[in-house]
């Protein structure tokens, strides 16, 4: 037997590229050579192109659909409507309320009505022009406040479309109404009169009261890789789908019933994902591609173009908010009230969960004894809204941070001092009564952020006349006249992992074997790598836990159990936890094998053993045996150790529907930002000069990737602060392109200094905290605060628009 034998003494190296190191991404080489297979790169010789006919109206009755002429177009293989959906006609993430293909009514502009399969995208387009749909156009319901509060507002959905969910207080167009009451408001809950009485009393008691309305615009995730993928019909009557998504199993759960197939006949494999940010939580082309593939017996490829992508995925909920804060003269908060209305658009998507986050985190990480929050998520005929990085916490954060700045101004305090005065810390209870039972060094973070070095003043620059340093850049719109500088702060509290009783477990299969004399670990999960670098982290965990450097990451598919979604900043925690747990089981089996072979001296417990540098090591007795010797080469009948494990976080609770109390969240994360801006008040242009941050991540898993998450998240917050808004008028998107919907370019983005703290969370694997979302919360209010400081304008709308900041006398 040609097994490479090594003495245990020549394997003294510890394992490199484990947890805490910054190894290269395993997919990095393929991504820079152009060979990484994204969902839009799928290609087969005999494939057909799918295309989607969408509603031109935000609200209309469908009187008839005639596909006769479309079918006559040469090269067209299929034209399908709702009549061709063999199974469930509706699907949805939380509520099954969205038609696979519209029937009876369309409820938003862009809703899918029919799908076509043809030999060329242009053939499909021509066929769609020949589909005749007769619509009776109806008045769209486009005002979210009316949908939430006006009992006479017409309904977007017929009553009974979604099941009763008493905890959500559904009524009319309300998908969820979540009140939160604390302190003096607790006893008065349910009586508007008594609540106003209490509010009057608190107002009288306060030395400073600030109130304002705020709006956050509809933000687009603007991932670069469009919705796309390929469905391939299988011989067993099932279908194989290669798709870019955030959660393979939740897709499978929605696709199979629509196709009338058992789940095991619908097999999904993750294709390369060109960014996600929440927009791939809901289905786009998945069912349509499978329907056409099963109908035609050929592989069907879908690729949305950018305009279609704006209609093809949910957006960040736009929010209308009213806030009031009262404080004592020393800055101590006395009370806060908030009305938060988020527009869910035509279909539910994740709206109820977004309301759960917006309400529970509605006042932020501040100690306030008396709180009244009313949060609503509603149906309208606007584009459907759902998950986007920050998920309900972003909207509230813009409002409560703006309020803190107003209050600081009213009291003549520094904004950082006011925040420290009311800062939460470990042991504090958020407004739902949930204790923050993990470190929350908020005051320290604020101080550190305030004390970071400032960028040079304009006058200190080597060449203050260099146009590249000015708002508007080389376009030469200004030479420095009318440019004023401002500094602002923002912070945000984000729940990490899924909340409100949802058991979003993850599964990992880990295999250890010896190949060619070398131990190799295979890690298999269904977790979606969307760019964040989970593939790297999975490998690091396997190296650290199993002491083996060579780790292979298997493609993510539905052949292994669910990993949950790549959202809520949860994958390092949950899939990381699953990989770590599966590794621990593999390790225990290896130790047992070593004992069985008599290689572990008497009296040495498992706690004394570890795997390191490819061998079994005892802390007291030293290296005991190499894995190569212990297991033997798998090709020659050696031992293969394989374990599959699920990882669950601790249970959480639903908020109660009357007082909004309950331990609804798994974990909390926080980021603090300081923004420095230059504003051209003549032309309404802003240049962010610096955007520095302090974030506590519990444990740094991969320093380089972590910075990429914080800088990337900060930049998406910058976009929301200054430029990003899907403009919707009467249910119509006015700017569905990258020409008209602007995201930050490299010129818009400043240098970002990041300070990372590591106060471990005792409940999570390695003490880590999800890191992707918190910076997206705090950078928006910090930048808007800086623009306020520069201009003196109230600025209650994010993004700030040019017309908001012109006409200022300097």
């Amino acid at each position: 037997m040609a097994v490479t034998t090594r003495t245990v003494t020549d394997l003294s190296s510890t394992t490199k590229d484990g947890v805490g190191a910054s190894p290269r991404r395993p997919d990095g080489t393929l991504k820079v050579t152009g060979e990484f297979a994204y969902s839009s790169d799928m290609w087969m010789e005999d494939m057909l192109w799918g295309a989607t006919l969408r509603s031109p109206h935000p609200h209309a009755r469908i009187l008839g659909i005639d596909i006769t002429e479309a079918l006559k177009v040469p090269g067209v293989q299929a034209v399908l409507t709702h009549e061709d959906v063999p199974g469930e006609k509706h699907y949805g993430l939380e509520h099954q309320d969205q038609p696979v293909l519209a029937f009876d009514k369309v409820r938003y502009k862009g809703e899918a009505v029919a799908v076509v399969a043809a030999d060329h995208p242009e053939t499909a387009r021509r066929a769609m022009e020949r589909i005749r749909v007769d619509y009776e156009v109806l008045e769209p319901i486009s005002d979210s406040r009316r949908a939430a509060l006006d009992p006479d507002c017409p309904l977007v959905h017929e009553p009974g479309t979604i099941p009763e969910h008493p905890e959500y207080n559904q009524r009319g167009n309300r998908l969820r109404y979540q009140p939160v009451r604390t302190g003096a408001f607790t006893g008065a809950a349910g009586s508007v009169e008594r609540e106003s009485g209490i509010l009057e009393r608190l107002r009288a008691e306060a030395d400073a009261v600030v109130s304002s309305e705020y709006e956050v615009g509809m933000q687009d995730q603007a991932f670069l890789g469009p919705e796309s993928g390929m469905a391939v019909p299988a011989e067993d009557g099932g279908v194989d789908l290669y798709v870019a998504t955030q959660w393979l199993h939740v897709d499978q759960r929605q696709i199979a019933p629509a196709l009338g197939l058992p789940q095991d006949k619908v097999r999904l494999t993750l294709a390369g994902v060109g960014g996600a940010f929440g927009a791939r939580e809901d289905l786009s082309m998945q069912i349509h591609a499978c329907l056409l593939a099963l109908h035609t017996g050929k592989p069907v490829k879908f690729v949305y173009n950018r305009e279609e992508s704006f209609y093809g995925h949910v957006h960040r909920h736009p929010a209308k908010m009213r806030y009031e804060h009262g404080a004592r003269a020393d800055g101590t908060l006395l009370y806060a009230t908030a009305e938060i209305i988020v527009d869910g658009g035509a279909y539910a998507s994740a709206t109820p969960a977004v309301v759960g986050v917006a309400s529970s985190l509605g006042i932020g990480p501040y100690e306030v004894p008396n709180v009244l929050v009313d949060a609503y998520g509603v149906y309208t005929n606007n584009p459907p809204c759902g998950a986007m990085r920050g998920f309900g916490a972003v909207q509230a954060c813009f409002a409560y941070e703006s309020q803190m700045d107003r209050l600081a101004e009213e009291l003549g305090m520094h904004p950082v001092d006011l925040r420290i005065k009311n800062a939460m810390s470990q042991g504090s209870r958020i407004i739902t009564g949930q204790e923050i039972d993990m470190p929350l060094p908020m005051a320290e973070m604020l101080e550190r952020c305030r004390d970071l070095p400032m960028p040079p003043e304009r006058g200190e620059l080597a060449d203050p006349a260099d146009l590249r340093t000015l708002p508007g850049g080389v376009a030469g719109t200004t030479h420095g006249e009318g440019v004023v500088r401002g500094v602002g702060y923002g912070l945000g509290l984000k729940n990490l992992c899924f909340s409100e009783g949802f058991d979003d477990y993850s599964t990992a299969r880990v295999r250890l074997e010896v190949m060619g004399g070398e131990p190799v670990v295979l890690v298999h999960t269904a977790a979606a790598e969307v760019g964040q670098g989970l593939v790297t982290v999975k490998g690091q965990i396997a190296r650290t836990e199993l002491g083996v450097e060579k780790v292979v990451i298997a493609p993510s598919d539905t052949q292994v159990g669910s990993a949950g979604s790549s959202s809520a900043s949860r994958q390092s925690y949950m899939t990381g936890g699953a990989v770590r747990t599966a590794c621990a089981s593999v390790r225990a089996e290896v130790f047992a094998l070593a004992r069985e072979r008599g290689l572990v001296p008497e009296g040495i417990a498992d706690t004394d053993l570890s795997l390191s540098g490819g061998k079994v090591v005892s802390a007291t007795a030293g290296a005991l045996v190499s894995l190569a010797d212990l297991l033997g080469d798998s090709a020659q009948g050696g031992t293969v150790v394989e374990q599959t494990r699920e990882y669950h976080h601790r249970p959480t609770e639903m908020l109660d529907p009357k007082l909004g109390q309950g331990a609804s969240h798994t974990q909390f994360g926080m980021c603090v930002h300081r923004a420095v801006v230059d504003v051209d008040v003549e032309l309404g242009l802003v240049k962010v000069v610096a955007l520095d941050a302090v974030q506590d991540v519990g444990k740094v898993m991969h320093p380089q990737q972590l910075l990429g998450q914080i800088q990337g998240g900060s930049t998406q917050g910058l976009g929301l602060a200054l430029m990003e808004e899907v403009q919707v008028a009467d249910g119509q998107i006015r700017n569905p392109s990258f020409t008209d919907y602007l995201i930050p370019t490299i010129l818009d983005t400043p240098p970002m200094r990041i300070e990372v703290l590591e106060h471990p969370d005792p409940h999570s694997p390695y003490g880590l905290r999800g890191a992707g979302e918190p910076p997206t919360l705090s950078s928006t209010p910090a930048i808007v605060a800086a623009v306020r400081a520069a201009t003196g304008r109230a600025l209650t709308h994010a993004p700030v628009r040019p017309e908001d900041i012109v006409g200022i006398d300097l």
Partner: protein, 171 residues
């Protein structure tokens, strides 16, 4: 229609091309070169950037017929040596992007690599000083990235410039 041109040093011909197709579509769907990316297909994002007769351009904005007889170089042509993809050594810019952590989802990466390669050709490659931050930002202003916040991309460009300058000076 039939379109013939040179891509990454190889003469190629695409048949049955519909005149409305872009060069990007021909590369991706007819020539098996999907490295150039289809993020906006309207010339705004830079993900499909290629060298077109030596000048960087968005291949989505070039009609297939315009490529007739021209020379195109894509991300697939940036690696060094011969052979296919991973059989070759990464080029300096490719290596720097992976090493610096400038790649997340990677969809913008091919366009950025071509644009960066061009910037370095025009600067350190032409005996000029390595570009500073402001020059890098101007050069890459047409390439959108949604993941990174660009900081690591700037690091990668500096790293690549340094290495190319070293290689150029024979150090």
């Amino acid at each position: 229609m039939r379109v013939s041109f040179n891509v990454n040093g190889e003469d190629v011909t695409a048949d049955d091309v519909w005149p409305g197709e872009s060069l990007l579509y021909v590369l991706r769907e007819r020539l098996g070169l999907p490295g150039s990316k289809n993020a906006c297909e309207q010339g705004e994002c830079g993900s499909c950037t290629v060298y077109f007769d030596g000048v960087t351009a968005c291949s989505c904005m070039i009609a297939a017929g315009q490529a007739q007889g021209r020379t195109v170089r894509t991300v697939e042509g940036l690696a060094e040596g011969t052979g296919k993809g991973t059989e070759r050594a990464l080029g300096t810019v490719q290596e720097a992007f992976v090493e610096a952590g400038a790649v997340q989802c990677g969809f913008c990466t091919p366009g950025l690599l071509v644009q960066t390669d061009d910037l370095l050709e025009r600067t350190v490659g032409a005996g000029m000083p390595a570009p500073g931050d402001a020059e890098i930002r101007e050069a890459l202003a047409g390439n959108l990235c949604r993941c990174t916040g660009y900081e690591k991309i700037i690091d990668a460009v500096h790293l690549a410039a340094e290495r190319r300058a070293e290689a150029g000076s024979g150090a």
